[in-house]
């Protein structure tokens, strides 16, 4: 029950956020999936993409994965593990809290993540999905 409530809250009120240096204001769903699948490594201007996520069991991560990427968190974890443990890619950076998500995305050039609307301030950009 509590889980359902926090899921609903997370669902209603979050945005995809980027570092203010990232020029993109909109992105295709396919590119968003490729970025969080750790298969697309650069922004169109050549800047390295730095991906930040919440832990696998965080309600916000579950909501984001299912609604924006259309995948289940376990699928993302399997895909990242396959990359990391075969050496063919890297894992995203995991942050422990929404506060850390904001701080890391705001301070890391090329960063992308997601955050509750209530937490957001001018230190990060909002990215819309086409």
């Amino acid at each position: 029950m509590l889980y359902a409530i926090s899921m609903a809250r997370a669902t209603d009120q979050y945005e995809i956020i980027t570092h203010t240096g990232v020029n993109e204001k909109t992105l295709s769903k396919g590119s968003l999936r490729a970025i969080f699948g750790m298969r697309l490594h650069t922004w169109p201007d050549g800047t390295a993409i730095r991906v930040f996520v919440m832990p696998d069991d965080a309600p916000l991560h579950t909501a984001f994965s299912k609604e924006k990427l259309n995948v289940f968190p376990y699928q993302l974890r399997s895909a990242w593990d396959r990359l990391v443990f075969s050496g063919t890619g890297q894992a995203p950076y995991t942050v422990a809290s929404p506060e850390e998500m904001l701080a890391r995305v705001a301070s890391t050039p090329g960063a992308i993540g997601y955050l509750n609307k209530s937490m957001m301030d001018g230190r990060v950009n909002v990215l819309h999905i086409k």
């Binding site: 396919g30 697309l40 696998d56 289940f72 593990d81 396959r82 050496g87 890619g89």
Partner: protein, 406 residues
């Protein structure tokens, strides 16, 4: 018949490896936050226990106390100095019965350069030692978190020619195309297989002869097609593995070649709560010019499994699998082989029913338990079961495993 690891320095006591290596992993994990942004360090450590009714798996599992002789430790580093350039390497120590004594070795180590990268496609090259892309699980087969069970389906991921199957030194071309129709990706490589020690001879010839195998240029490839964001995954992988045999002094065998050609079809469906996975493999094995009639073989093996996993909660997952191996598809029950060799037919097949449970205590620590009911002995290790007459056709195996990763 597992890997006989490279004959290195004397083996350190297992207790040292059990304590010291995880301590290293732990300190790396603690340091990970301080690393430069493009350097990543990851690793894992696992310990298993196996108990079987008859037949040994990974040590003396049939003994009263079972076998603790199953440990996997890995530590990897990757770095992206440029957005299109990555360096990756992993060190691995695997202890699994007589065949894998736990020597630390380079699991993979390569340079990855993406020379073409766009919003929907990429093309790149890897040079060095890469994991062989075979089926869904070969690339990460020693990492418990990436496996569906403690033991991978042995029909396809058997350990008999483990070292040959696991990695190779050479070059891979890889690419990916993403569209609304799905994601198609491929890896294609030419490489020198890893031929070390007596493993290859024991696996292919039955025992260690005076001469030795030499790796020849071999080919490997895999195409994966993912539909609906990976809810449906299909893969086709194949390899043509070429080995030469150089006879030694007073060798009864002549200069000869072996060509091993496995082909694997893989399919998976992923729903929120459950996943269904099936793989089917045909392995053509051809021995040429050995000069000894019984060694000039040409046959095709066949393997398949069907596996279901159910995520009861995010913490608990149950699995069930039926896994079948036929060494020779023209002699599925092994009777022809038995009458020609005078040994029991059950050496030529194995049918394994497995049920298992996985408990994710935290995202980085898990416990697993599983039970196998097996009919047949085809994938048993010769080294762990040195007397063929002691093998029993119908047997049970129970195993638990704990694994930590970061």
């Amino acid at each position: 018949m597992y890997s006989i690891s490279n004959s290195g320095p004397a083996r350190s006591p297992w207790i040292v490896r059990l304590v010291v290596v995880p301590a290293f992993l732990w300190s790396f994990a603690a340091q990970a936050e301080k690393l430069p942004q493009n350097l990543q360090i990851h690793g894992f450590a696992s310990q298993g226990w196996l108990k079987s009714s008859e037949n040994n798996v990974f040590g003396k599992s049939a003994s009263d106390s079972g076998s603790f002789d199953f440990r996997e430790l890995g530590l990897n580093a990757s770095m992206r100095p440029l957005t299109n350039l990555q360096f990756s390497a992993q060190m691995l120590s695997r202890t699994a019965g007589e065949g894998s004594p736990g020597n630390i070795r380079l699991d993979y180590g390569f340079i990855d350069y993406t020379f073409l990268s766009g919003e929907t496609s990429q093309l790149g090259i890897r040079l060095g030692r890469m994991k062989n892309p075979l089926g869904f699980y070969n690339d990460t087969r020693d990492v418990p978190f990436t496996r569906p069970s403690i033991l991978l389906p042995q029909s396809i991921y058997f350990d008999r020619t483990r070292k040959l199957a696991i990695a190779a030194d050479g070059a891979h071309l890889y690419g990916e195309h993403r569209s609304s129709m799905g994601v198609i990706s491929f890896q294609l490589g030419a490489a020198r297989p890893l031929v070390r020690g007596a493993e290859t001879e024991v696996a292919f010839l039955g025992h260690d002869f005076p001469g030795h195998f030499t790796p020849k240029v071999s080919y490997i490839g895999r195409v994966i097609y993912e539909l609906d964001e990976g809810k449906l995954r299909f893969a086709l992988s194949g390899s043509q593995l070429n080995l030469g045999y150089n006879p030694g002094a007073a060798d009864i065998i002549q200069a000869a070649t072996i060509r091993f050609t496995p082909l694997i079809f893989s399919a998976q469906y992923n729903a929120e709560r459950w996943s269904l996975t099936a793989e089917y493999a045909r392995r053509h094995l051809e021995y040429k010019n050995f000069g000894v009639a019984p060694l000039n073989l040409d046959f095709t093996g066949e393997s398949y499994y069907l596996q279901g996993a159910y995520r009861i909660t995010p913490e608990w997952e149950a699995m069930v699998r039926y896994d079948v191996l036929h060494i020779d598809s023209d002699d599925r029950d092994g009777k022809k082989w038995a009458s020609a060799n005078g040994r029991p037919a059950h050496n030529r097949f194995a049918k394994d029913i497995t049920v298992g449970l996985r408990w994710n205590i935290t995202p980085s620590f898990m416990l697993r338990a599983e039970y196998h009911r097996v009919n047949g002995t085809a994938w048993l290790s010769t080294l762990d079961n040195s007397n063929p007459a002691d093998r029993s056709q119908h047997w049970d195996l129970f195993s638990i495993l704990g694994s930590y990763r970061f």
